[in-house]
């Protein structure tokens, strides 16, 4: 992944990736964009078949009274798996995947640990899945805007005003609508 071609804005279809989403595309004129505070975005790219994908997550807080540590990894694992599965379903090979990680900033003292926790989670997840991280821009105190062209593997990461970040609070784990068991 590199900037081998000029990053021009001609006739691109821009798709915003919101918190909790994962999208994959091989469209040559598609650009995924997202603004990150303490959230982390993972960009995956398979150079052999020119396909890429991006997710955007914030680790959920565990249910009240739970003793599962400070943050619940279920939601992060889910969004990572969703992204990887979508890549594989479109012909990518896990062994060829290259990752970029962005975000995980600590925008204010009250949320100080969230960005760091998100970044650490993303790192450990990719390490355990044996996916190589080729570029990262994590941590710090500033919001970032990420523009990713999935079919080219090109990423542009810029610092932006912290006020541009959507209200990002750890969402409760979506256990009410997910995880339901249906026995046949």
């Amino acid at each position: 992944m590199s900037f081998e071609a000029p990053f021009s804005a001609t006739a691109m279809t821009r798709i915003n990736i919101l918190q909790g989403q994962a999208r994959v595309s091989a469209g040559p004129r598609v650009e995924f964009s997202t603004v990150l505070g303490s959230c982390v975005a993972t960009c995956l790219f398979d150079p052999d078949i020119q396909i890429g994908g991006m997710n955007h997550f914030l680790l959920a807080e565990p249910p009240p009274g739970a003793s599962t540590g400070d943050f619940d990894e279920h939601y992060g694992v889910y969004l990572m798996e969703l992204l990887i599965n979508e890549m594989l379903a479109n012909g990518a090979a896990k062994s060829r995947l290259r990752a970029h990680l962005y975000g995980g900033a600590n925008l204010n003292a009250g949320l100080a640990r969230i960005g760091t926790k998100n970044a650490a989670f993303a790192h450990s997840f990719l390490a355990s899945e044996r996916i190589t991280v080729v570029r990262e821009d994590l941590g710090g105190n500033n919001a970032r805007r990420i523009d990713f062209r999935p079919a080219h593997g090109q990423v542009r990461c810029r610092t932006v005003e912290n006020t541009l970040v959507a209200d990002t609070r750890p969402t409760p784990r979506p256990s009410l609508s997910r995880g339901d068991v249906e026995l046949f």
């Binding site: 990894e73 279920h74 939601y75 694992v77 889910y78 990572m80 798996e81 969703l82 990887i84 599965n85 594989l88 379903a89 896990k94 997840f125 355990s128 899945e129 784990r173 979506p174 256990s175 997910r178 995880g179 339901d180 068991v181 249906e182 026995l183 046949f184």
Partner: protein, 123 residues
Amino acid sequence: MSKTTRILTVDDSASMRALLNHALTSQGFDVAQAEDGEVALEWLALNEVDVVITDINMPRLDGFGLIEKLRAGNRHRDRPILVLTTESSEEKKTRARSAGATGWIVKPFDPEKLVAAVRRVAH
């Protein structure tokens, strides 16, 4: 006192296997892990288990293939098999059901609901 329920979890994601292992062993289950359908078949040929929990999207042999192969043989024809997947399509669910799955759970899983389901199907 009944004996410990033995579970085989089948998932290509090491992170998901770790989450499942934690959720199930902390409730007293005996958990073994396989990284795809082929590994699961090899393990199941030699080991006894009470419940199988399997992902759908996996390399080599996917969850559908695993269920079909287990149901085709004698040894695991009646074994409870829970599917745990990111897939939410009705078509995939129907396919799992006709392949012989016992239940269907959409990720991200809720540990309490998963444990309750395992206890219910394990007899």
